[in-house]
């Protein structure tokens, strides 16, 4: 039944993560949902990195298939799709914070404010809870 094993290179957790979101675009969509509150197709398209329409559609499908996001139809807006993080997707928050912290330390161009990075370093667990609580409200 579960013959996806043919596509699974190993049982390593790092490898599992790479096969789930290890490409150049997926984490950017996660970022847009997690930190920028984006929920619609056009909002993702508008991000600075310039994802193209076919790639965005492909990634949204893949993200939903792997359970990181859920889509719903917005009845107030011609049944247009709204994309949101699932709990599984929201649980990527510590990964995103760790990445942000690392980049802030080594990339002079990364635009994350120094104060934000300092807070990340000094109280990572507390900030995690805070952001998570904020996200749960929506």
């Amino acid at each position: 039944m579960n013959d996806d094993s043919s596509r699974c290179r190993s049982n390593c957790p790092i490898n599992f993560a790479l096969e789930t979101f290890g490409d150049k675009w997926t984490l950017l969509i996660i970022r847009d949902m997690m930190f920028k509150g984006k929920r619609r197709y056009g909002e993702f398209l508008a991000s600075a990195e310039g994802i193209s329409t076919n790639i965005l559609a492909s990634r949204l499908q893949r993200l939903e298939a792997s359970g990181l996001i859920v889509s719903s139809k917005d009845p107030a807006n011609r049944g247009v799709a709204l994309y949101q993080l699932s709990p599984k997707g929201k649980d990527l928050l510590p990964v995103m914070l760790a990445i942000t912290s690392w980049s802030g330390r080594y990339d002079a161009l990364s635009s994350a404010p120094a104060a934000f990075l300092e807070e990340l370093e000094s109280d990572r667990e507390g900030l995690t809870r805070k952001i998570r609580a904020a996200m749960e409200q929506t």
Copy 2:
């Protein structure tokens, strides 16, 4: 001079990380160095995922160019190269831990022992310091 800006999609820290190690192979090499103590070409080749020789050579070059690893010649062994994590590479430890924790929660096949994952959850900072200290000794 620094016209690499043409290859930089944005100044976002998530994007910076993706452009540094956001492919299907790089983090596996980091993992081998960080958690398995591998240092030589043949050791990376032998990992379960089956990286091919040209990709491995390409990734080792890229990793050294971006400063995540350093290579040295082993005078005791025909001047063969030894690859090790730089401080910048070792600082990816929190990223690796966060990924491992997430995969352990959602991938039934991930082989990380439950006890290890529980320890990650209950005392992530402490474990981070412990593993880091262990790595610094070499």
